[in-house]
Symmetry: D2
Subunit: 375 residues, 4 copies
């Protein structure tokens, strides 16, 4: 399975193209739209989310709500294009409008200007924008539907917002229940604190990030492989997660805290019960030797505070070379909830891709049969 | 550029194949061997390092110490194969010898047995072993030689061993000087503490991990890209680093601590001086929007304590289903220093790959000319 | 550069997604539409071409008629979807309408039914249809625009229709002039004969194929490479051309007739004149050792007669297992002219891809400068 | 499955690396060596074949004659390296020895000199040489062993040598029987004529090519796919075959003669018998819509006469720019028999790759079970 995204933040819309899906996967379009709406939600989101009402349009690869094995094209229209086409149209438009000449520290703006020898950062900012993540939410939702039919489920939550951190341990079932709260945090007290912090930071014209945790339940052992670098499941997850806008760190299982432990504290003792190998703990986060080991996959990622600040940041006007405050661009104060949905989605993509490359299969039915035959 | 590794821990040896190198890269074979010896060194290494004397043999792709653009084959012989060929030979051998039937928690053993329907973990353990990393050290050294000729340098150090952590900030030059100390730590006091800890833990039959920091200096802005997922430089680095044996976390710049900051504290203010854009800080760790931004790349990774413990761990004998202590396999107590060398190496691979895909070039000379022309 | 296509023959439309284009390629949308109209033209085309009026819509990757380096999404709407949506809609529709249960020999129908465990061939026929080729015509037109700005040009003609064959030799300039004749043949007498043959064969309810010749002029030497299988330019061309619907053979230079020659008759003598290496002949068709050698690339392909015959072919009704005449599906009698345009297009894609992987380049300007610097 | 080759004609040896093989494939090393000896045989071969005695050495990926799923490294030593190391050693050697400064028309020599800015063609000629094909013979033999265990068989024969052509039609069984004759032709009279022709042409200091036919028997329908360009089986075969040294044309089924037929003559009528769909003919050569259709795959390729002639060809001395006769390099007069073995081998690689991507599978046993379950 291969997923390609396309589209710009204020262009006509965002695309996800999925190749390599088996035939006969049943799609619930309402569920895709529900995940898209979750991506738009969460306390701390900005004005753009009031303009957009993201709905997927399926252009190809599906007939009568079932995949055909032909490449899937999913499209999410940018309603804001109506306001932007004067400077964003593929055909004649005025590139002088909405020029982005005071690059925003933390964004792709300056590196992109240098890479592409540009006079302003518009072309770069349009593609680097996290608007692109709605493609992954749509594609990930499709992946999730096939995974669910195998008994593989993905969920997650927001573990911290700024310095409001939750140190609790939660079961998959508990997380799933909370998945649609206003900030997607598990502890209501922490969530209330976080909301207050977001309000305060918004007042200051500042922004916040946070830590997200993603879980995968029901994946049998042996997905991914230790045999080649390209097949390692943890490497694939790290690639997908680090590639999401604003992510600066990713860890699996104990992650960074693993480094401070002794071996006898860090590994997961094996025992055998009711015909199955089991573990006393899950410090490995479900992956050993680049393969799933049958335990829950536990992954955490760090999202930096968004770099588009209401009050701006010290920068340079590239037209004059003079010091300037970075361009004000409509943005969110805090988008951890959206990011949580996005991370679940890219994790769904990676897991399904590993499933299909191990099992092959031309039809969803074949995939399910072969999955069922694994020990 | 594409790098493929092959070989088993107790097989004939380890291979790295590098495709896509330009012609005319001058290779200093002694330097490759020096890096290989660094990978073998570091306080806390085990018996295997007393058997091996890793030296690269170049089989193809090089004439008269210069690359020819033909695929490079680098080989590091396993001297230990002489002891192992009775059960490891590709031709007739006895698979009953050295069976690995009490899987080691934290290793690929159990997941591999399940994936490949095996009666013991030997086939899996042989390939999952960190012995494979010498391929990356050899390949990374080759990549480093071309990078150095562009003025791009890679170094690193051990930031913590177990709970002995160094919170200092160090310049690239300082790190480079210390790169060959016995544990590759920067603070001599901490290094002494860490050595003591390793000795103590060795007594206990236990193991240790740590945190490594890697730096890249001299890389101009605009490598990688925000345009497609596959081109994002941070994602590529995360993939390569997480794919290294025993790594459980990776972060760039502030990484996980970025998540607790406000936007105004986390981004790197831009200014213009002497015809160049510069930054007041480097919280981003040299990457914004999936592209290098001209600042040093700063990456940290968490290595878990090694899962082959002298005293073993609770496991199951897969032949009987009975509880058992995991198989004792010769291993290191602590291999953070080796891991530091390996991480530098995979970072060299990723950076050179990004350089070549942006610049193209059939000859090293062409690559240098085009690199020089970038702003 | 990577090109992905999507879409079904009677679905909403056909997509081409182009990743890896440099920024700043100027697009003439009218030229894309002109090539699309050429694909629809040619004597012998069927009813479908009277329904469609193919025009490209650019969805992303372009602003103000210039590429931005963001993935390009090109869309060609299927006007016929209005008639087909009752059975083709991604959402609710009736799969019983227009079932294709009497598979057409020569089509993907039967193999597809078996592969995907289908009850009829609709899903397969929709994607296997040559309607997909309009994606390549659009993408190839974009590639051609950048190639033209380097001085690299692609043209072609129809060398035979059924048994009406032209044995002449033509210069690139002559071919370019004739490129828009009704059958795209060079010899007017042969073209008249071919038109008569098509009329006669149409009467019979039968179909015709032919041989196409494609030429590339102005490509400097050294594109592609002898160093790895993946880089061989002739292999890449063979892949792209053989992958086009209905193509059953591909040859470069003398091709199959090369096999009957002696070495002394088959190779192209080298001489040196005005500071350049030149050739006395071009039997190699511009490629030696998997690389362009600076001469014109000459490629021929064999297109089989279309397998959707007016009168049908002996087949089986898969619902009953009884013998039946294959399903009548609207089709062309002869589509060699369309195929010629398609082959030019995929050749443009391959050549540009080889150019970009050798030269790298973030902007069209950079690509042009580097191309100019080659000898 | 992915196959990488490395090595130079007069370097230490030739490598094939195979990634993605399932575990548990039983390897008969003698059979690999037998195919390697076939590649060295055939009337018309030159002096080099008297020096080499190609035997495979397996370096990794195999234990006790069974694959382990770890990457396979196969090595064929160049005995001639002993004579060549003075100018071919990766370490110190003298590049002035055996310089190739009078490029041979038809070889990679001149294009390679220009591409890599070389002073002589040695580096290019060493890699472009058909010596590399022994890697594919070894890898293809491994692929063949797994295919055979599925009931899929590959054979082939020489259809013409120069202008001595055989127009006969032969069954798979007949071909298999003749596969080891001195020229691998089917008709003894033609073979005798061809041998005479080779003798005569050798006298003249000239060379010969020919046409090869490859067959695949027992492959079920539905391998490859019509859904994406990358999956088309005919395109993959064309890529692999056209990438073989000296191949200038490839066709499937009727191939170029298909273009002259009417649709009613060219397609393969379908009927149903004993629970199976069958065909009255096999003009399609076993592939429709980019998928196997269950019939024999029939592929033909044109090999040009070898470009290293005893008497040389008109060229230029690149050191002086003066006209010169191309450098005399030891070569064969005719290598069609070797090429036949090579083409069988690359076809085995492509077919197995298509099998594994459709079926997945960690073990040979799993692959066999899933193959058996297909209709």
């Amino acid at each position: 399975m291969k997923i390609t995204t396309a589209g710009e933040s204020h262009g006509k819309g965002i695309f996800a193209v999925i190749e390599g899906l088996p035939s006969g996967v049943e799609l619930d379009i309402e569920t895709i739209n529900f995940e898209l709406s979750r991506r738009q939600s969460g306390f701390g989101r900005g004005e753009r989310q009031r303009i957009e009402r993201d709905k997927v349009e399926i252009f190809s690869g599906v007939r009568n709500r079932k995949t055909t094995a032909s490449p899937l094209v999913l499209f999410i229209k940018n309603l804001d294009y109506e306001n932007a086409k004067g400077y964003m149209s593929p055909e004649d438009c005025d590139e002088e409008i909405e020029k982005l000449t005071k690059p925003r520290p933390g964004h792709a703006d300056l590196a992109g200007i240098q890479k592409f020898s540009l006079k302003d950062a518009r072309n770069v900012a349009e593609r680097a924008s996290a608007r692109e993540t709605c493609a992954h939410v749509a594609a990930g939702s499709v992946a999730r539907m096939l995974l669910s039919s195998l008994g593989v489920y993905v969920t997650g939550y927001v573990r911290s917002v700024g310095d409001v951190a939750d140190a609790g341990e939660y079961s998959f079932g508990e997380i799933e229940k909370k998945r649609t709260s206003s900030l997607c945090m598990m502890d209501e007290g922490k969530e209330a604190q976080a909301i207050k912090l977001i309000e305060q930071v918004k007042e200051e014209g500042d922004t916040l990030g946070g830590v997200l945790e993603i879980r995968v339940k029901g994946l049998k052992s042996g997905f991914g492989s230790c045999m080649t670098a390209a097949e390692k499941l943890d490497a694939q997850l790290a690639f997908a997660v680090m590639g999401v806008q604003a992510i600066k760190g990713v860890e699996i299982g104990l992650g960074f805290s693993d480094a401070a432990k002794k071996g006898s504290e860090a590994q997961d003792a094996i025992y055998f019960e009711e015909g199955k190998y089991r573990r006393k703990s899950n410090h490995a986060g479900g992956i050993e030797g680049g393969m799933s080991n049958g335990e829950e996959i536990v992954l955490r990622a760090a999202m930096k505070p968004l770099p588009s600040l209401g009050k701006g940041l010290p920068s340079v006007d590239i037209e004059t070379g003079e010091a300037a405050i970075s361009q004000r661009v409509r943005s969110d104060v805090c988008a951890v909830t959206a990011c949580e949905v996005v991370l679940e989605s890219v994790v769904c993509e990676v897991i399904l891709s590993a499933v299909l490359s191990r099992l092959g299969g031309d039809t969803a039915e074949e995939v399910r049969t072969r999955y069922g035959e694994l020990q």
